[in-house]
Amino acid sequence: MMMSKRPIRQELRVIGAEFLKTMKIWFSYPIMIVFWAIFPLLWVLPFVFQGRALVGSATSEAFRLLTGSGNYLAFVLIGAMISIFVFSALWGVGNSLREETYWGTMEYIIASPTHPLVILIGKTLAEWTWSSVMVFFQALIISLFFGVQFTLAKILPVLLLVVLLMIGFYGFAIAFAGFTLLIKEVHGWVHTLEWVFFLFSPIRYPVQVNPITALVSTLIPLTWALVAIRGIILLNRTEVSLYQTVAILVVMDIILLFAGYFLFVYLEKKTRRDGTVGMH
């Protein structure tokens, strides 16, 4: 279908309207706000107890041999923190069009002159804002209780890596959103993907412990980002490895964004051809 272009200012206003709408709907559930307020605190404790139970102290020599840092708690907490961004993108963006279908509003979005991708960008922005607030508080807890120092010299390159990681990942999430329009199911797929990422990227453990996970993990941008972020925060790595990671992430971003865009456009059109836009 041909959609002639609208002024960019109009599309930006739609993104703003979608952002506001998403936020208002979230804040209409007060119990969720309470949950998310205490979540950053509750989230840390299981990792601390699990680590202490396994090793008996706050550091591990075996861990140092694999990762370069013996502070396994900081390792795991950084992984969990960054994974919040990734999984919230999957749940938030991937699931967002399913939500519109449940609300009965999806057909009105598709029938409007606004492309649903613009709506997804608005949802991405809302999701990103929410995740950033969560991660900020988590970083604060890690800094206060686990001795991890976040200086400006560390924060800036880490932010760059997170942005690059998420650009590619939102490309993936947009394709996933299109996929959910077609398959009408989200939870099973997101859980499957979560476990794929837990297994094949160093969120909770160094993937080097197994040659297969080590190999597969190189295909996932999260692996490159996590290795570099931990290097900066825990090991004060040199700039050379940062440049290499940035280059790899940029290439992956380009591939994922283009693939995400074309897949979404194809799947949205297929849904309209099949006549299943409004179906649950």
Partner: protein, 347 residues
């Protein structure tokens, strides 16, 4: 708001659907079925017309509306809005369509009516003061101003439907697609919506309206012309009056008059098949059975005026339901009617 279409002197129809075919493929393997929801639907609607699509459930009304709204891509055929292909020039066409579907779950219940309208206004490029003025105007017009800032979850079904109607009108579209707008509403709200469609949207604002319904009274009351749709095909398009004249059906002229007129002269009128009179409390009710009332009505009035004071004249016509059954063999209340075929037949 975008440029408006000049409706006044245009020869291009507001809507032109030609041979629209829509197939739905359901199931897999040996159980695969191809359902022919639209089987070459063709219709042309003029500017400012209130056009009805009347047919039983599953006849293809909603499928056709969804194709016009670009929600569904047809397998064959063309749909043009003001001369422009809805799929090739979708931005132009979507900006000119206002859509209202049946069912109350079409809005954000956690948001207020105003917030809902603000969001949808953004999708159509409305913003700032112009947007707020338009929203205020619509809320006032539909009697929602007092409750505009309350969440929709507290609204009744009828009030939600009013918000849906406001959303359809937000961007001042040239054509409104109203799919079963009164379905499930209590009589009071249904009456309001019907009056609003006819008097405000069609007469006052001159909107072209495509109305789907399976309520024959609604179609009869509102529509300038009606397309009967059955099994995905447009069976015929006529005015409600033309439809009723089409079928070989007797009509009854019912006259109430003061006194007891001599009706023997009426019996000799050409075309009068039967007369019947009933006198009660000083009022006579006459029933004159004729094939077509219009052929004898003026003569009946002339003769009766010499005999008595006429209080009321009514011509009982066949209903649209009668016409539909006569033309299709299917009742409007029936679940029909798409043609299900096996995959091998279609592909």
């Amino acid at each position: 708001m975008s440029e408006r279409v000049d409706n006044t002197n245009s020869v291009v129809p507001a809507l032109d659907c030609q041979q629209v075919v829509k197939l739905f493929r359901r199931g897999r393997g040996l159980k695969k079925k191809v359902i022919r929801a639209l089987a070459g639907a063709t219709l042309v609607v003029s500017h400012g017309e209130l056009f009805g699509l009347l047919g039983p459930n599953g006849a293809g009304k909603t499928t056709l509306v969804r194709c016009i709204a670009t929600l569904l891509i047809p397998d064959q055929g063309t749909i043009k809005l003001f001369g422009r292909d809805v799929f090739k020039e979708s931005l132009f066409c979507r900006q000119r369509i206002g859509l209202l579907t049946s069912g109350e779950r079409t809005l954000y219940w956690k948001l207020s009516a105003r917030d809902n309208l603000r969001f949808f206004a953004a999708l159509y490029g409305l913003n700032g003061k112009k947007r707020d003025q338009r929203i205020d105007y619509l809320l006032e017009l539909l009697g929602l101003r007092e409750v505009a800032n309350e969440r929709l979850e507290r609204y009744s079904s009828g009030m939600k439907q009013k918000v849906s109607l406001a959303r359809a009108m937000l961007h001042d579209p040239d054509i409104l697609l109203l799919d079963e707008p009164t379905l499930g509403l209590d009589p009071q709200f249904a009456r309001f919506i019907r009056r609003f469609i006819k008097e405000e949207l069609n007469r006052e604002q001159g909107k072209t309206i495509i109305l789907t319904t399976h309520y024959m009274d609604e179609a009869d009351e509102l529509c300038d012309r009606i397309a009967f749709i059955d099994r995905g095909k447009i069976v015929d398009i006529k005015t409600p009056q033309e439809y009723k004249r089409e079928i070989p059906h007797q009509e009854v002229i019912e006259v109430r008059c003061l006194g007891q007129p001599d009706i023997s002269s009426l019996k000799n009128l050409t075309g009068v098949e039967q007369t019947q009179s009933e006198f009660n409390n000083g009022v006579t009710v006459l029933r004159i059975v004729v094939p077509r009332a219009e052929t004898v009505l003026s003569e009946v009035i002339e003769r009766l005026r010499l005999e008595a004071k006429i209080l009321e004249i009514d011509v009982k016509e066949p209903t649209l339901e009668d016409v539909f059954i006569y033309m299709t063999g299917t009742s409007l209340a029936a679940e029909t009617g798409q043609t299900a075929e096996t995959a091998s037949l279609e592909e």
